[in-house]
Amino acid sequence: MERYYQPEIETASPEQIRAWQSERLVSQVRHVYDNVPYYRKKMEDAGLTPDDIHGVDDLHKLPFLSKADLREAYPYGLVAEPLKNCVRIQSTSGTTGKRVVAFYTQSDIDLWEDCCARAITAAGGTDEDVCQVSYGYGLFTGGPGLNGGSHKVGCLTVPTSSGNTERQIMFIRDLSTTILCCTPSYAAYLGESMKEMGLGPDDIPLKAGIFGAEAWSEEMRHDIEKTLGIKAYDIYGLTELSGPGVAFECSAQNGMHINEDHFIAEIIDPNTGEVLPDGVQGELVFTSITKKAFPLLRYRTRDICTLTHEKCPCGRTHVRMSKPRGRTDDMLIIRGVNVFPSQVETVLLNLGYGANYQIIVDRVNHTDTLDVHVEMTPEMFTDNMGEIAQRQKKITEGLRSMLGLTAKVTLVAPKSIVRSEGKAVRVIDNRKI
């Protein structure tokens, strides 16, 4: 039977969820308008006052908030509570520029840990479990978030933090860890290390893993599930909103339920800002409606995914998001069409080729050109020129139906695409705009 951490919330009717969202949005807008000059100015610039927002239907009127706003307002510019009410900060790594510092009141931490507890329960966790948190502790939200969630569920919590692989495996075996929380790449690495130590899935008691904080594919899920002998669940979040637990996977492993009583999700066209319906791919935008210290209204995550309100067999009623397919940062606009490298990859993988490709964009006579270089594979090669040309044409057709653009497909020698640190350089944009 499916277990829930907060059944009355997680299985509430869509009408109930909407009513909570409307009520909380109205008071959140009032809260930021009254307490954050940065928001007040943004709203004034858009000709808005809190009186214009009566519920979820008015959400689209509010201006977007972007990472650039967070940088501009760094460090205290978006804090909506007096600092005496704030008890903690967490921070991003700052690899893509200035760090984001997010603030929490005690109640913010409580609600965040509830979200993580929902994720652990959805992965089958109970107070009988031993939950090893191998996400980093400290400024990174992964460790503290899952640590708090694990406490709430009542698991015996093993706060190993990241690194020291041998010790991780020792604790898994000695303490009979049943649930592992870490990044998917670290889970894969643990699996490899176990193999080298001569340990198989039957030698460890693990039954589930909660993996997030980076993009991972279905293939990677299957590999991890096989090597560790577990079910692997995805978890989504970002420091700006709280941390892990904004959305989490259930037993159906088919999309992540967004905790809609805390976050309102929208999908928008990244170019026009227009709100898109269920099933249409676009940029994910979040509004946090319960956070007190660091509330974000219509924050553009730059993650590209779809939403679905379809009924989930697990019984949860909250909307599900697909695994992010890419970031708007990776998005190319070619002849006015949005192109993601991941779409090109999908076409190639569907036709049975490898993921070694390169997208080259240029501008000739004021028109964008799209060249896709694909490394020849032994499976694709034949002595027959005509047959190769046919296969090349199939790629062109596949790209046309996926992207709505005609690309020039060139077959190149194996390993000829430049790699940096083992990863192929996917996109070369030679346009001088």
């Binding site: 020849m376 594979t377 032994p378 090669f381 034949t382 002595d383 027959n384 020129m385 190769i388 040309a389 060139t410 077959l411 190149v412 020698a413 194996p414 390993k415 000829s416």
Partner: protein, 137 residues
């Protein structure tokens, strides 16, 4: 009469062919026959060598993608009508020629022809019964 030809994928760019021949040279491999087919962006180098397995292994090791294709190699008298006789034999048994190329052996009186055909067994039988000489490499 039937030989195994190595077909190698090459990019159509300056130096690509040279690099392949360098690989063969450093491994002291002699090509008995060679032909190149190309489109605007890639080419296929077709070669016949003594030790197919060894050559294929060396090329694969060097990162080349290749396939091994059965072909027919016959002697064609170096005189008017020489090629015509071979082609007629194939045509009479309705065997289609996908491609062909010529090379020269030690005997200047005969040309060596390599044929890639749709039905190799049928072609060999027909050529043999017509008394067309197979190539001895």
């Amino acid at each position: 009469m039937s030989f195994r030809q190595i077909s190698v994928f090459l990019e159509n760019r300056p130096g690509a062919l040279l690099e392949m021949t360098e690989t063969l040279y450093t491994n002291s491999i002699d090509m008995r026959a060679f032909s190149l087919a190309e489109t605007s962006d890639f080419g296929i180098a077709r070669i016949i060598v003594d030790d197919v397995e060894k050559t294929a292994a060396i090329l694969r090791e060097a990162g080349y993608i290749l396939s091994i294709t059965p072909v027919i190699a016959v002697e064609v008298p170096n005189e008017p009508g020489g090629l015509r006789r071979t082609l007629r034999t194939l045509s009479e048994v309705n065997v289609n020629v996908e491609y062909m190329y010529a090379f020269v052996g030690s005997n200047p009186a005969v040309a060596m022809m390599v044929f890639r055909v749709a039905d190799i067994e049928k072609a060999v039988t027909a050529l043999e019964s017509a008394g067309i000489k197979e190539v001895t490499l």
